[in-house]
């Protein structure tokens, strides 16, 4: 079946091949397609690069992000974000509750609370700026796309207590290093990060009757155990029972904060607290877990990471994110097999996905999320901004504030979730403001001081940023429909950039 389809496709290519202009157009469209999916949208530089090295090599480059050096335009900006380099323990000690605030039991004053929120918010804003800078200026585009994918898969919410301190660190330490690594490492890293331990309450879960049990730590908490299976690994139809949820919660008792590290501001933020753990033998998903401590949780995570249900769940999600809202079942099956045979090697699954005919033939089938739409619009104009704030604000206005998805399932990436009447209105309005250059040059009043730092780091940053309409049109022309091109041709020159960025075609990837 596939062979016949491939043969038919070859015939079509052969039929149109005598017309070099058409072949060029198809090749141009394909490069934009690849950059729409492996990157946060095309830039003129990226298109030139893919043309030079070819698509196959570009895919291989992107699958090995460590080998791609980060340019000064990115590293200079990241260097202005001083909290990005701090560990979870440092962040807590320096920016969290200070001695005499809450941990000692004294009720904090409103001033103390306000000051603490302000301190934590500065970390959150830096984390958001870092994410935007990496997406706009970084060469490791697939890595950043995978960060978006996996962050939402293992979502935590910055507006959930201490997580405002830790959401950036969670991304930098538990997500980004593993996005193309082994799935089991990703699960373990998120399971042991304080942002996840806090968000899904495992930090509180305590074996009843254990030495450290107390009034507010008297029994298990199911929250993390359930979502670990439903969302992170097996999937909701993955064959677990309420009994498995309860058992897994018992297995994971004692996985919590290292209070010593947090108050000292050094050392690992995770600790296995044996005095809260239920060490008894368990039967989990039909398998025996021997009596023990932290190794019980590791064993359970190994069982979950190796399960065919997990392989299918992850394969489906990746195919949905990278190919189509309703991904082709044959592709999902092949990716499932690759996940299993590669023992959860994400890079191998991604290689199979990105070189598949289903991926190749799926151009334009995905509707951009607000995050993808906003960042791709900036990248298409050349990628230069004065402040990330108006772009983060647009994501929020469109219903996708960065790091603030309140529920553990993360933001969806389907058309059903994001195509809406007011969303379309707001997108076209945003496109108008980007097309005119207004948003690219905007610096909120309270950021003028920060802006000076960024400007000194990049000497050309003080100049006004203009949108080159002709360059924008040349870049995106391959994916604009005849209808869109005709409408743009009839419009005043001052509106053309807005219409390109606000076109139905540009809202797809």
């Amino acid at each position: 079946m596939i062979a016949i389809r491939a043969l038919a496709a070859l015939c079509v290519i052969w039929l149109i091949a005598p017309l070099p202009a058409r072949a060029d157009a198809a090749a141009g469209r394909h490069i934009i397609h690849v950059l729409n999916r492996l990157a946060l949208g095309p830039t003129a530089e990226a298109v030139a690069h893919v043309k030079a090295v070819g698509i196959d090599r570009y895919i291989d480059e992107q699958l090995d992000p460590g080998a791609l050096p980060e340019p000064a335009v990115l590293t200079d900006r990241l260097a202005t974000l001083d909290t990005q380099g701090l560990s979870a323990s440092q962040l807590f000690a320096k920016y969290g509750p200070q001695p005499g605030e809450t941990m000692a039991g004294a009720k904090p004053t409103q001033e103390m609370i306000d000051a603490r929120v302000k301190r934590a918010d500065s970390i959150l804003q830096q984390a958001r700026a870092a994410r935007v800078y990496r997406a706009l200026y970084g060469p490791r585009q697939l890595q950043e796309v995978m960060v978006d994918f996996w962050f939402n898969h293992f979502n935590v919410n910055a507006y959930n207590g201490f997580d405002m301190l830790w959401v950036g660190n969670f991304e930098n330490e538990a997500i980004r290093p593993h996005v193309l690594g082994h799935f089991r490492d990703l699960v373990l890293a998120t399971a042991q990060h304080p942002a996840m331990l806090y968000y899904l309450d495992n930090q509180d879960s305590t074996a009843p009757g254990s030495p450290s049990a107390s009034v507010l730590f008297s029994d298990i908490n199911e929250n993390y155990a359930r979502e670990l299976m439903e969302l992170h690994t097996l999937g909701v139809d993955g064959g677990y029972t309420q009994q498995d949820v309860t058992t897994l919660a018992h297995i994971l008792t004692g996985w919590g904060f290292n209070y010593q590290s947090l108050s000292a501001g050094s050392g690992p933020a995770f600790a296995f607290i044996a005095s809260r753990h239920d060490p008894s033998e368990k039967t989990f998903l039909g398998q025996r877990i021997a009596p023990g401590g932290i190794e019980q949780g590791i064993a359970a995570i190994d069982i979950l990471a190796k399960s065919p249900a997990t392989a299918h769940h992850i394969a489906f999600e990746l195919a949905q994110y990278f190919v189509a809202d309703q991904p082709p079942p044959a592709l999902v099956d092949r990716l499932t097999q690759q996940f299993l045979s590669g023992d959860g090697d994400i890079k191998a699954v991604m290689k199979a996905l990105l070189t598949s005919p289903e991926f190749r033939d799926s151009a334009g089938q995905k509707y951009k999320t607000p995050y993808q739409y906003v960042l791709s619009a900036v990248r298409a104009t050349g990628g230069r901004i004065k402040s990330p704030t108006p772009f983060l604000g647009t994501m929020a206005q469109l219903g996708m504030p960065l790091y603030l998805c309140p529920t553990p399932d993360g933001y969806k990436n389907t058309q059903d979730a994001w195509l809406s009447p007011s969303g379309t209105t707001d997108r076209t309005n945003f496109a108008t403001l980007v097309g005119s250059g207004a948003l690219l040059n905007y610096v909120p009043p309270d950021e003028q001081a920060v802006h000076v730092v960024a400007a000194s780091a990049a000497p050309d940053a003080a100049k006004p940023i203009a949108v080159d309409t002709e360059a924008l049109q040349a870049l995106l022309n391959p994916v604009l429909s005849d209808h869109t091109r005709a409408a743009i041709a009839e419009s005043p020159a001052t509106l053309k950039a807005a219409l390109i960025l606000g076109s139905p075609d540009f809202m797809r990837r």
Partner: protein, 412 residues
């Protein structure tokens, strides 16, 4: 379009056959009088219904909840007396006038026949109206809108917020609008030359073009409504800038101004209280206070329109009867449905209370479900919106008829 017409035809034919004497005037009234409205408030994350409408008459309630129980009426910060068996969470004091006025009712031990304890599956089933069937392509509120007689307007149904929830998805055009403080502020694309250029770009029949045109039409109408109301809002005392009370006040202003709006939907998060949920004070109390204040503001803002409005509050499932090890509750089953409005026969806790004894619990841990959540919703559609059995069967396909006491929740 075809489907909508078919639905309308089917409804019309059935009505003709029944030829009920009460239906004539209502059909006529809908064309120019105040519309019959339904507002659905969804609490995403599963609110702890046992601490909303508290079964204080049951010893098992207090045995199961040593730190988070709401104390009996008459004690300090205890529950507000409802009917001698149930009491209301004290943070919902703003709703007591409504209760005393018999315009607020509850249906306890209501919920989905599907046993899922997944938030996401359970919310999907509440929204698509077909528990256990995930692939239903539209939401029950869109099917409800399809069953209502025309003429159509871009703002027949309104979802508050930047995205379109599943409950309103479907073939009939609906509007969505975030009701933030700046909802009516001018936008670049309001300028005629920019709007007409985009209109040309989006003149196709695809989904994106449809969404664009719905957005344009709704914005034009809603912004005009809100702009003309801004002075009035200032005169009434400005609502707080954020949170549900402010959104509710704006929603009330909007629907009183725009007689086209027949269905509205709002969802609120923050109910997934796995740890430290508190009792009469704390996390849940804070959320309930905002909700109660907002619902009271909605009633006040609706003015005369309150008499033609039914508001219902639902959540995907309830929470465990027993508190967990951290002063919270985990995912459970049965919950309480709230119904209020001018046409409601309130001041009563409806439903069949299954009890909290271990043998009475669902899977020995959760409040059992004795009322399918769709039955009260179908009752509202039938008695308030005057839809017939043919229409109801399309809105909630396969729903077994039920004859619980909640059938009397609205005047016939």
């Amino acid at each position: 379009m075809l489907r909508r017409d078919l639905v309308r035809l089917a409804g019309g034919a059935a009505l003709g056959a029944v030829a009920s004497p009460t239906l004539g005037p209502i059909w006529a009234a809908r064309a120019d009088g105040p519309p019959k409205r339904v507002i659905v408030v969804m609490l995403r994350g599963a609110v702890d219904g046992l601490n909303v409408v508290v079964p204080y008459g049951e010893a098992a309630y207090y045995e199961a909840r040593s730190t988070i129980a709401i104390q009996k009426p008459g004690t300090d910060n205890g529950a507000l007396e409802l009917d001698g068996h149930f009491g209301l969470h004290p943070a919902l004091q703003p709703l007591m006038a409504m209760w005393t006025d018999k315009k607020l009712a509850f249906i306890h031990a209501a919920g989905s026949p599907d046993p899922s304890r997944s938030h996401f599956d359970a919310q999907l089933y509440i929204e698509n109206g077909t528990p256990g069937h995930a692939t239903t392509p539209d939401g029950w509120m869109n099917r409800l809108l399809a069953a209502l007689p025309g003429p159509r307007s871009p703002t027949d149904a309104l979802s508050v917020g930047p995205t379109l929830p599943y409950i309103l998805k479907g073939p009939v055009a609906v509007a969505n609008l975030p009701l933030g403080p700046k909802a009516a502020a001018p936008m670049a694309i309001d300028r005629p030359e920019i709007a007409s250029a985009f209109d040309r770009l989006y003149d196709g029949n695809d989904k994106q073009s449809e969404a664009y045109r719905q957005g344009r039409a709704a914005r034009t109408q809603l912004v005009a409504d809100m702009a003309s109301d801004e002075q009035k809002m200032a005169d009434n005392g400005a609502p707080p800038a954020n949170g549900f009370p402010a959104i509710a006040a704006r929603l009330a202003q909007l629907v009183t101004q725009d007689k086209h709006i027949r269905l509205a939907f709002v969802s609120l998060g923050g109910w997934d209280t796995h740890a430290r949920q508190g009792n009469d004070k704390g996390q849940l109390a804070g959320n309930l206070k905002a909700l109660g204040t907002g619902l009271a503001a909605l009633q006040q803002g609706l003015g005369q329109d309150w008499n033609d409005t039914v508001i219902t509050v639902i959540s995907e499932f309830g929470r465990t009867v027993h508190e967990n090890g951290n002063g919270g509750t985990d995912h459970g089953h049965g919950n309480v449905i709230w119904v209020m409005g001018g046409p409601v026969k309130g001041g009563k806790v409806y439903g069949q209370w299954p009890g909290l004894g271990t043998a009475q619990l669902y899977q020995a841990r959760d409040l059992a479900v004795t009322t399918d959540y769709r039955n009260p919703l179908a009752t509202i559609a039938e008695k308030h919106l005057r839809l017939d059995d043919t229409a109801l069967a399309k809105i909630f396909p396969g729903l077994p008829s039920a004859h619980g006491d909640f059938a009397d929740i609205l005047a016939a």
